[in-house]
């Protein structure tokens, strides 16, 4: 099971009394693609770090699997960070080998071909462009065959065509593997394009102020007519949504 239940009462940073996260409750179903949108500095990354276990969380704040189930182990995680975070001293191939047991190294060549880096396996990250480095970090996340994939604004500062191809790739890979995805972004049209459900967060102390299912047929279009209409409708209903306000 890769259901994630988040039940945070409050989250402070060390030495800081102002909570960054307030009462935050939601769950993510198995195989669901959930996008989280919130204003800058609302603790989206902190939330992902808590889910991934990088940031400490009090017990029972984040649980995995059906709560009635005994199976509450942390699922196999993939995390695509805002920055690619590749080891500069390892080649592209070695970077991916690093996160895999030796028995699974055979699939790397195929995976690199899939992200369009078939010829760059022996290159060091600094010899690649920013977009290529991101593709490596995506390949690295998928190499481990995660049940739960966390993405933190992974397509920021990429040119539009590259970002679009990467989104397409992400959708395909997730669909084929049935991966549960939590995708953090500040771009509403990106969220509409990708997600089954969108959660909107407020300013700190952050809570979920609104959530909505994206009931649009797939495959969707990047800024297609249906998608734009849906977005416009949402924005007229809740004009302050992206700034973290609901009226």
């Amino acid at each position: 099971m890769s259901e994630v239940n988040v039940a945070i009462e409050e989250k402070h940073y060390l030495n800081n009394h102002n909570p960054v996260l307030g009462q935050l409750k939601f769950n993510v179903k198995n195989g669901e693609f959930v996008a989280i949108i919130g204003p800058s500095g609302c603790g989206k990354t902190t939330l992902l770090n808590m889910i991934s276990g990088l940031e400490s969380s009090v017990e029972q704040q984040i649980t995995y699997g059906d709560t009635s189930d005994n199976e509450k182990h942390k699922p196999h995680l993939g995390y695509i960070f805002q920055q690619p975070r590749l080891m500069p001293w390892l080649t592209v191939r070695e970077n991916i080998e690093l996160v895999l047991p030796t028995s699974q190294h055979y699939g790397i060549a195929e995976l690199l071909a899939q992200v369009g880096l078939a010829n760059q396996g022996e290159y060091y990250p600094r010899q690649l462009s920013g977009g290529m480095q991101r593709r490596v970090s995506i390949a690295r996340a998928f190499a481990t065959n995660p049940k739960l994939l966390l993405l933190d604004e992974p397509f920021n500062s990429l040119d539009a065509p590259t970002a679009n191809r990467l989104r397409l790739l992400l959708i395909d890979l997730c669909k084929q593997r049935g991966t549960t995805v939590i995708f953090v972004t500040h771009d509403l049209s990106e969220a509409i394009y990708l997600a089954d459900r969108i959660l909107f967060m407020s300013n700190p102390p952050s809570t979920v102020i609104h959530q909505t299912l994206v009931k649009l047929p797939r495959p969707r279009k990047e800024s297609g007519a249906l998608e734009l209409a849906w977005q416009a409708q949402l924005m007229t209903r809740f004009p302050g949504l992206l700034a973290g306000k609901i009226d």
């Binding site: 991934s52 276990g53 990088l54 995680l77 995390y79 960070f81 920055q83 975070r85 080891m87 500069p88 001293w89 390892l90 080649t91 690093l98 996160v99 699939g107 195929e110 995976l111 071909a113 899939q114 992200v115 369009g116 880096l117 078939a118 010829n119 760059q120 060091y124 990250p125 600094r126 010899q127 593709r135 690295r140 481990t144 065959n145 191809r165 397409l168 790739l169 395909d172 890979l173 084929q176 593997r177």
Partner: protein
């Protein structure tokens, strides 16, 4: 995994053949390049040797032997065989204490760099260790442990270790936490995290302390030998000093510097390349 890899979203960029072609062009110029390199490196040395010879002729004093006399002395000591033995003995002491100082210093440096409390508790001790004169530690080691080999090695290690600690600690302090987070998320084993993620970030600091370390260590080893050993370069230099054999002293210096330069070229240069990998920007 297989069924996912049939679509191709990205066309591979094909400018790598060009790069390979330009590399073979470079190899033609390698012989002239080597010549130029040697000229650049050795030119200044040749000039200094010439000046030395000229000054020796001008001064004409037994305290300032000419280059030719030093070379003659070098040849004499080499043919006697005792020079090679002494150099090897000194080199052995230097390398043993070098390895111990690097390992211990590296370990302590990492611990101090990572743990703020340990750092606070031991920082003043470190400053004291850094500032105790080499001569004092050498004398104390000989007095407390006797005129034995282990005392000599210990004295050198105690002198060198604090500087290693200081450098490695700086390295451990600036380790990229983001990369360690990657290791944690992907649940790498402790061994993998240390050797593939943590340690490579320290390589530049390790290299820097090793480079400065070797030169410092062999200078201290000579003093240690002079004060309490009956073999090695330091002992030989002392013996020659008793007879005012200036040419012999210079011959020994020449021989040892040559050996150190050889070590530099044979060990540190290739290691530099290893560290630089992934840092080139094209």
């Amino acid at each position: 995994m297989k069924s996912f890899f049939f679509k191709n979203y990205f066309r591979p960029k094909e400018n790598f053949e060009k790069k390979i072609a330009s590399q073979s062009m470079i190899s033609k110029g390698i012989t002239t390049g080597l010549l130029r390199y040697l000229l650049q490196r050795l030119g200044i040395i040749a000039l200094m040797l010439l000046m030395w010879q000229g000054m020796a002729w001008f001064i004409a004093s037994p305290d300032f032997p000419s280059l030719l006399e030093v070379v003659k002395s070098l040849h004499f000591h080499l043919s006697q065989g005792e020079m090679i033995t002494n150099v090897i003995i000194t080199l052995r002491r230097a390398l043993i204490s070098f390895i111990i100082a690097m390992l211990l210093g590296g370990l302590l440096g990492i611990i101090m760099g990572l743990n703020r409390l340990v750092n606070k508790l031991t920082d003043s001790l470190l400053i004291i260790m850094l500032n105790i004169p080499a001569l004092v530690t050498i004398l104390l080691c000989y007095v407390w442990f006797g005129l034995v080999e282990s005392a000599a090695i210990a004295a050198v290690v105690i002198n060198k270790m604090p500087t290693v600690v200081v450098m490695i600690r700086e390295g451990a302090r600036v380790v990229d936490k983001d990369l360690l987070a990657v290791a944690k998320v992907y649940q790498l084993s402790a061994r993998h995290t240390f050797f593939k993620v943590f340690l490579p970030q320290l390589y530049p600091f390790i290299i820097a302390s090793a480079r400065s370390g070797l030169s410092l260590i062999w200078k201290i080893v000579l003093v240690v030998e002079l004060l309490g050993r009956s073999d090695g370069v330091g002992f030989a230099l002392n013996a020659m000093f008793q007879f005012f054999d200036i040419a012999g002293i210079l011959a020994y210096t020449l021989a040892f510097v040559a050996v150190i330069m050889l070590i530099e070229a044979a060990i540190f240069k290739p290691f530099d390349k290893l560290v630089a990998r992934g840092n080139c920007c094209e």
